[in-house]
Amino acid sequence: MGIGTEEGRKKHQARSGWLLSLPALVLLLVGASGPLVIVAVYSFLKPGEYSGVQWIFSLEAWFKVLLEKDIFDGTISLADAHLAIFWRSAKLSLLTTAVTLVLGLPTAWFIATRPARSRALWLFLITIPFWTNLLIRTFAIMEVIRNEGILNTALLALGLIETPIQILYSGTAVLIGMTYVYLPLMVLPLFAAIDRFDFRLIEAGYDLYASRWQVLRRVILPIIRPGIVAGSILVFVPSLGAYVTPRVLGGGKNMMIGNFIELQFGQGRNWPLGASLSMVLLLIVVVALLIYVRTAPQEDRHD
């Protein structure tokens, strides 16, 4: 009589689930995911004469990501210019992650330990920069570190320096900028982790003769680790693919992968190389996310 109804209901649920998701899936397929396949295909083609591609299979673009062939004697060597860009991207992204963690952990802790009423306000203060246009924020930090900006003006007025420090258009400027821009991305997941943290555990730690440092090292950090991992991924991934901040603050010399990719579609006129570089960036991000997904469930079992 009623046998099989559960199965029927399940099938019906799956079908309506798919149907309801369909418009979103189509939009995403056309406006985001689908074109990634084209990029993958382009990375195996030869560059067109002025721009675009020639439909000839070639591994040249992938080869060029790391290696270069001498025009005269045909010897193959590592592409130093490319390596420099990768190295700078990796270094700046890791440094940004580290600095935002050092700044973000105390900030998140501070917010999480406010009384309930003011906590919402502090959190709101973090979310405003988070949602503010990245370009505006980059522009704002640029105003501060310019030669005539308030940082140099203040240092000059205090007599600490005699001539303005040239920060803008340097690697340091990009680091400062990315730290500034991505700090909220670190604070929010850390806050979420600390907010769930049971503060009685700290009391237990102190009760069992741990010092403040030991409580931090042995109790707090291990428990909020998922938040630290999440925040680090959230900062590292966009840092690695950053485009606006290095372009505005780094000047022409401090290119990161994102700018290098753009170059291939602009002046470089090497779409296949741009495509293979994009794929490399995407692969790194996917690996980072996979590492995160692998660690996350185990952390969940922890608490």
Binding site: M1, G2, I3, T5, E6
Partner: protein, 355 residues
């Protein structure tokens, strides 16, 4: 074919999941509820009582078996086509609608004319004494008031059967007592069949016309509160409802020989061999050791409960027996620990439960 019942479950089975993970929530349950009856499903959480209720409401479909309403098979009907309403444990009041709109929701969905809805809502508000709260939102009401709105909302469409899923469990003790009376009054006034689910035996005993005791998806016993309390069908029912002393013995003639060697008379109904006797603590009398039929025992402890005191006794073989006696005035205690006394069981109070 004689009486058509308000609700009937015929051999209802509900299995969740498949294979090794399968959980049987209802195990061949058959039960009937008469028109105008206050019927209670009683059992611990996870016994299947809420599943049965949800099958009647239409939120679940039984894996096999049938649910009948006034003799009609409604097993496959969706909930919105069943003339049955539910009072939810969490009340499930619509937070975006006023009290009046909540109460009128069912009638509105049935497409009743506005005037009729307004009239019924007013009547329902009066019935649950919430006239002045018509324009409030549910979250502006106290727990007890929300409970009454939920009741009014479920009663407004005049269902054939009202299902109540532990509706009083979220209330504090005092309010719960009050609402128990209120529920009974509403049921008498409206004459609607109530199917009430609870894990609280006292609630079940005080309010119900009949009780069905459930355990692990199976119906253990159905009967009036008196039946269930005085004549429990098995050890589980006797243990779940009220407190009981279980004594093991062997049938010897028309009586039972306990492990202590004492002989207890009981209505055996043809049982032989080893049996379990159930004796309620309040049906034990403490007498002098030399009184006729007295079973010798020693007081091993007592716990004061206000009006009652529970005395713990040990029979000669060490078997523990608890008796509930009215507390005496202070200083009048003549039953200190260690004293030897005699215990008497009233014949009619001893239930024979099989081994």
């Amino acid at each position: 074919m004689g009486e058509t019942f308000a609700v009937e479950a015929r051999d209802a089975v509900k299995v969740y999941g498949t294979g090794v993970n399968a959980i049987t929530a209802l195990d061949h349950v058959s039960v009937t509820v008469s028109r105008g009856e206050f019927f209670t499903l009683l059992g611990p959480s996870g016994c299947g009582k809420t599943t049965l209720l949800r099958c009647i409401a239409g939120f679940e479909t039984p894996t096999s078996g049938a649910i009948l309403l006034s003799g009609q098979d409604i097993t496959e009907e969706p909930p919105y086509r069943r003339p049955v309403n539910t009072v939810f444990q969490s009340y499930a009041l619509f937070p975006h609608l006023t009290v009046a709109r909540n109460i009128g929701f069912g009638l509105e969905m049935m497409g009743k004319p506005k005037a009729e809805i307004a009239e019924t809502v007013a009547r329902m508000l009066a019935l649950v004494r919430l006239e002045e709260f018509a324009a409030r939102l549910p979250q502006q009401l106290s727990g007890g008031q929300q409970q009454r709105v939920a009741l009014a909302r479920a009663l407004a469409p005049k269902p054939q059967v009202l299902l109540l899923d532990e509706p009083l469990s979220a209330l504090d003790l005092k309010l719960r007592k009050e609402m128990q009376g209120e529920l009974k009054r509403l049921q008498l006034e409206t004459g609607i069949t109530f199917v009430f689910v609870t894990h609280d035996q006292e609630e079940a005993l005080t309010m119900s016309d009949r009780i069905g005791v459930m355990r692990a998806g199976k119906l253990q016993q159905v009967g009036t509160p008196r039946d269930i309390y005085d004549r429990p069908a098995n050890r589980y029912v006797a243990d779940f409802i009220g407190e009981t002393n279980f004594l093991t013995g062997v049938v010897e003639g028309g009586a039972v020989r306990l492990g202590s060697g004492d002989l207890v008379r009981a209505a055996l109904g043809g049982q032989t061999g080893t049996v379990t006797l159930a004796v309620r603590p309040e049906q034990i009398r403490v007498v002098a050791t030399n009184a006729p039929g007295a079973i010798p025992a020693r007081i091993t402890g007592k716990v004061y409960f206000g009006t009652d005191t529970h005395y713990h006794f040990a029979l000669v073989d060490g078997t523990e027996v608890v008796a509930r006696l009215q507390s005496r005035a202070q200083g009048e205690d003549d039953l200190p620990k260690g004293v030897e006394v005699g215990l008497q069981f009233e014949d009619s109070s001893v239930q024979v439960l099989g081994p």
